[in-house]
C-alpha cells in the first residue's frame, strides 16, 4: 500500500517540478539569450516482487536547455558580418557626406569658380576689383581643401575613439566569460549541465562577435576557449588575454597618420593587431580608417598638389601688374620697391604631394599685394591677359597622374568611387541584416519560449498533478478501508 502512496508522491513531485520549469520558462520569456528548458522525466527503477516486475513511479532525470551549437555558431557568424557592414555603411556615409556636392558648393564648384574668376580677370586684366575677387576665390579653394582634410581627419579620430571604447567593452566581456567559465566548471563538476549560466556565456560570446569573428571550442582538457579569428586565443577557461589600445607614431601606425590608435595584446605594443581582426566592427573601423579614408585623403592631396604646382608654374612666367623699369637693352629689372616683378608663386609652393591640401595657402606675395596677381606675359602690359587665360585653361588640362585626367575628372572619379563604395556598403548591410534576422529567427524558433506551448504544458502538468494527488487520496482511502476492517 505504501508503494501506491510512494508512486503517487513521485508523480506529484515530477509534475510540480515540471510546473516549476514551465514557470521558469514563462518568467524568462523576455530574457535576452534565454533558451527554454525542459524536464527530462524517466520511470523509476522497477522492482521484482513475488515473481512480477513492478514499476515504482517516475523520476526527474535532469533539467536541460534546448540548444544547438551549430545554430549558435551560425548566428555568431552572421552577427559579425552584419556588424561589419553596418559599421562600414555608417562610416562610409559620414565620408560620403563630406563630398555631397549636389545641393551645396563642394570642392568641384569652388575650383570651378576659381578658374572662372581667372576668366573674368582675363576680360579686364587691369581691373583691381576682379583681382581681389580672384584672391577671394582662391582663399575659398584653400578653405575647402582644408575643410575636406579636416573632416576626414576628424572621422579618423572618431574611429580611434570608437575603437578605444570597443576594446574596453571587449575586455569586460572577456573577464565575464572567464568568470562564467569558472562558475560553470565548479557547478557542473557535481551537477548536470547548468543551462542558465551557459545561456549567459553564449550571450557574452554573441556580444563579442559584434566586435570580431569569434571561434569557440572545448579543448581536450574540457576547457572552454574563446579565440578571435586571425588574432589568437583570448580566453582559455579562466585565463584572459586582455587587449590594449594605444597610439603609435607616424612610422608604425597602420594608416600613416601620427597618433592614430592601434590594438595589441596587453603589454605587447610591438605586435600590432589592428589589421588582423576579421569581420565585426573592429575590422570594419580599421578598414575604413586605413584604406578608404587614407585613399581619398591621398587623392585630395594630389589634386591640391597638382593644382598649386600648375597654377604656380604659369603664374611665375608673368610680370606683375604695375610699372616696371625697363633698361636700355630692353632687359627688365627683376625687383622693384614692392618685391619681385616676375617669378611670383600664386600659392605657397608645396614641398611634396603629402599633406599638400592641409598646408595649402596663398603665397605671401599674393596675400600682401593684389598687383602681384599676374596676368601679363610681358612687362608693363596691363591689358595682356595671356597668363590669366593660361591659368583658366588648367581647368581642362590633363595634369593629374600620368597626364591622364583633369582635376575635375580626377575629383569626380574619387567622389564616384566613394559613392559606389558607400552604396555597396548599404546594400551589403541590408543583405547581412536580412541574414542575421534569419539566423536569429532560426535560433528563436528552436530555443525561444512560446507562451502557447507553456500554457498547454501548464494545463497538462496541472492535470497530472491533480491525478497524482488523486492517487494518493485513493491510497489514503484504501488505508482507511484496511484500518476500518478491524472495527
Amino acid at each position: 500500500m505504501s508503494d501506491l502512496l510512494n508512486i503517487g508522491r513521485t508523480g506529484l513531485n515530477a509534475s510540480k517540478k515540471s510546473l516549476e520549469t514551465t514557470g521558469h520558462n514563462i518568467s524568462n520569456v523576455n530574457t535576452e539569450g534565454y533558451s527554454r528548458q525542459r524536464v527530462n522525466q524517466t520511470t523509476n527503477i522497477p522492482i521484482t516482487k513475488g515473481g512480477t516486475v513492478h514499476g515504482t513511479g517516475t523520476r526527474i532525470k535532469s533539467v536541460t536547455r534546448i540548444n544547438d551549437d551549430f545554430v549558435n555558431k551560425r548566428l555568431e557568424k552572421s552577427i559579425s558580418n552584419s556588424k561589419f557592414f553596418e559599421q562600414r555603411m555608417e562610416r562610409m556615409s559620414q565620408v560620403e557626406d563630406i563630398f555631397n556636392d549636389l545641393d551645396t558648393d563642394g570642392l568641384n564648384q569652388v575650383i570651378n569658380r576659381f578658374f572662372n574668376s581667372f576668366r573674368e580677370l582675363a576680360n579686364q586684366p587691369e581691373n583691381e576689383t576682379i583681382r581681389s575677387v580672384v584672391r577671394d576665390q582662391a582663399n575659398l579653394v584653400v578653405q575647402d581643401f582644408q575643410r575636406i582634410q579636416g573632416s576626414l581627419n576628424s572621422i579618423s579620430a572618431g574611429i580611434d575613439g570608437n575603437m578605444e571604447s570597443e576594446v574596453t567593452d571587449i575586455n569586460q566581456t572577456l573577464e565575464h566569460i572567464a568568470s562564467l567559465n569558472a562558475k560553470i566548471r565548479s557547478l557542473e563538476a557535481v551537477n548536470e549541465e547548468v543551462g542558465d549560466l551557459r545561456d549567459q556565456r553564449d550571450l557574452a560570446v554573441r556580444n563579442l562577435s559584434k566586435s570580431f569573428k569569434v571561434h569557440t571550442y572545448q579543448d581536450n582538457k574540457g576547457q572552454f576557449v574563446v579565440a578571435a579569428r586571425g588574432v589568437g586565443t583570448l580566453v582559455t577557461a579562466t585565463q584572459v588575454q586582455r587587449l590594449q589600445i594605444g597610439t603609435s607614431n607616424k612610422e608604425n601606425s597602420t594608416n600613416g597618420l601620427p597618433g592614430s590608435a592601434d590594438i595589441f595584446f596587453e603589454g605587447k605594443p610591438a605586435h600590432i593587431l589592428t589589421k588582423k581582426f576579421q569581420g565585426g566592427s573592429l575590422a570594419s573601423l580599421a578598414k575604413v580608417r586605413n584604406e578608404e579614408i587614407v585613399d581619398i585623403k591621398n587623392k585630395i592631396d594630389s589634386i591640391a598638389y597638382n593644382l598649386t604646382k600648375s597654377v604656380n608654374a604659369i603664374h611665375r612666367r608673368g610680370y606683375v601688374n604695375r610699372q616696371v623699369e625697363v633698361g636700355e637693352q630692353g632687359n627688365v629689372s627683376d625687383v622693384d620697391s614692392k618685391g619681385m616683378t616676375t617669378g611670383i608663386n600664386f600659392f605657397k609652393e608645396p614641398i611634396g604631394p603629402k599633406d599638400s591640401a592641409l598646408n595649402m595657402s596663398l603665397s605671401t606675395a599674393v596675400k600682401e599685394d593684389l598687383s602681384n596677381i599676374v596676368t601679363a606675359l610681358g612687362p608693363n602690359s596691363p591689358g595682356d591677359n595671356r597668363i590669366s587665360l593660361a591659368i583658366s585653361k588648367i581647368q581642362h588640362e590633363r595634369i593629374v597622374g600620368e597626364d591622364e585626367s583633369t582635376l575635375e575628372e580626377f575629383y569626380l572619379q574619387a567622389v564616384g568611387k566613394i559613392g559606389l563604395e558607400s552604396g555597396k556598403a548599404r546594400l551589403d548591410s541590408e543583405q547581412a541584416d536580412g541574414l542575421k534576422a534569419q539566423a536569429v529567427s532560426i535560433r528563436e524558433r528552436l530555443v525561444g519560449v512560446s507562451i502557447d506551448e507553456e500554457a498547454a504544458n501548464m494545463v497538462k502538468f496541472q492535470h497530472a498533478y491533480d491525478a497524482s494527488a488523486k492517487i494518493m487520496q485513493t491510497a489514503d482511502e484504501m488505508f482507511k478501508t484496511v484500518i476500518g476492517i478491524k472495527r
Binding site: N108, L377, L412, L420, R445
Partner: protein, 332 residues
C-alpha cells in the same frame, strides 16, 4: 510545422515593420525634396554626371559673360571705326574738291582749319576708352595710345577672349593696325597660349624683340592717318594742289583698310553672337539632362508612397492577430 516562439514572431514583425518603414521614409524624403538623389551613393554615376554638368554649365555662364564683355568692346570698336571712316571720307571729299585749281589760297586756308578739326576728332577717337582701359593701345591699356603729334605709344598686343571652350577670339584692334599700316593685320586666329608653351628662354628673347621692334619702327612718313590729315592741312595752307592730289590715293588706301577692319570686327561680332546662342541652348540641354538625372519622377514617387503606405497598414493589421492573443486568453 516549424515552431514559433514569442521572440521569433516579434523579431519577424520588427524586421518586416522596419523594412516597410525605412522604404516609406526613403520615399518621403524623395517626395519632400523632389530629388531622386540626395547623396552620392543613391546613384554614384548620375551624381558624378550631374556634378560635371553643373560645372560645365557654370563654365558656360562665364563664357557668356565673356561674350557679353567682348560684344561691348567690339561694338565700341566698330562704332569708332565707322566714325573714323566717315571722317576720312569727309577729308577725301575736301581733298577732291580742293585738288582742282578752282579755289584760291584764302579759301584753302579756311578749309585747312576744318581739316585740323578733323584731325583732332580722329585723335579723340583713337584715344577712346571703355571703362578705364584704352581700347586701341594693345596690351598697354592704361597708356594713352596717341600723343598730340599722333605718335603711337601702345604696342601690337591682341587681347583674346575665350567665348566658348577653347574658342578664342581677338578682342581688340591695336592703334598700329588702324592708324598706321596694314602690314600686320593677318586675320588668322592665333591661339593665345601657344607662345606660353614654348620654353622660358625663347620666350624672353622674343619678348625683347617685340619690344625693340615697336620701339625702333618709326612710321613711314604718311602711312598713318594723322600724318595724312596733317599733310592735307599743310597742303591747304601752303596752297599746294599737287600734294593734295597725291594725298587722294593715300586716303583711299586708309579707307579701304578701315573697311577691311570693320568687316573683321563684324565677323568677330557675329562669331561671338553665334557662340553665345549656342552656349544658351547648350545650357538648356544641360539643365534638362541634369533634371533627368537628379530630379524625382513625381508621379512615380507618389504612387510608390501610396503603395508602401498600404503595405505598412497591412503589416500592422496582420500583426494584430499574432501579437495580441495567446492560448491563455482561451483557458479558463
Amino acid at each position: 510545422m516549424s515552431r514559433v516562439s514569442e521572440n521569433s514572431s516579434s523579431a519577424a514583425l520588427n524586421f518586416s515593420l522596419g523594412k516597410a518603414k525605412s522604404k516609406l521614409e526613403d520615399l518621403q524624403m524623395k517626395g519632400s525634396t523632389l530629388k531622386d538623389i540626395s547623396r552620392p551613393s543613391d546613384n554614384p554615376i548620375s551624381n558624378v554626371e550631374a556634378l560635371s554638368i553643373t560645372s560645365n554649365m557654370s563654365d558656360n555662364k562665364q563664357y557668356q559673360r565673356n561674350a557679353d564683355y567682348a560684344l561691348l568692346h567690339l561694338n565700341v570698336t566698330e562704332k569708332s571705326l565707322e566714325q573714323l571712316t566717315d571722317l576720312l571720307v569727309k577729308a577725301k571729299e575736301i581733298a577732291i574738291s580742293q585738288s582742282s585749281d578752282f579755289y584760291n589760297a584764302d579759301v584753302r586756308k579756311n578749309i585747312a582749319n576744318e581739316v585740323n578739326q578733323l584731325r583732332n576728332l580722329a585723335l579723340s577717337i583713337a584715344n577712346k576708352r571703355v571703362g578705364q582701359k584704352h581700347i586701341f593701345s594693345g596690351y598697354s591699356t592704361l597708356t594713352k595710345p596717341f600723343d598730340v603729334d599722333g605718335n603711337y605709344k601702345g604696342d601690337k598686343g591682341h587681347t583674346t577672349v575665350e567665348v566658348a571652350k577653347d574658342f578664342f577670339l581677338p578682342l581688340n584692334l591695336n592703334g598700329h593696325e588702324i592708324f598706321y599700316s596694314s602690314d600686320d593685320t593677318s586675320d588668322k586666329n592665333i591661339h593665345p597660349l601657344e607662345k606660353l608653351k614654348k620654353s622660358v628662354n625663347e620666350q624672353t628673347e622674343e619678348n625683347k624683340r617685340e619690344l625693340a621692334s615697336s620701339e625702333g619702327e618709326r612710321l613711314h612718313k604718311r602711312d598713318n592717318i594723322f600724318a595724312q590729315l596733317e599733310s592735307l592741312s599743310v597742303a591747304l595752307e601752303t596752297n599746294d594742289a599737287g600734294l593734295i592730289q597725291s594725298l587722294l590715293e593715300e586716303f583711299d588706301e586708309s579707307i579701304s583698310r578701315l573697311i577691311t577692319l570693320r568687316t573683321r570686327v563684324g565677323s568677330i561680332t557675329s562669331s561671338v553672337m553665334n557662340s553665345k546662342s549656342r552656349l544658351e541652348s547648350e545650357n538648356i540641354e544641360g539643365a534638362t539632362r541634369k533634371s533627368k538625372l537628379v530630379d524625382a519622377d513625381i508621379a512615380e514617387v507618389f504612387s510608390d508612397i501610396t503603395k508602401h503606405q498600404n503595405v505598412l497598414k497591412t503589416t500592422y493589421k496582420s500583426s494584430q492577430g499574432l501579437m495580441n492573443q495567446n492560448l491563455m486568453d482561451f483557458l479558463r
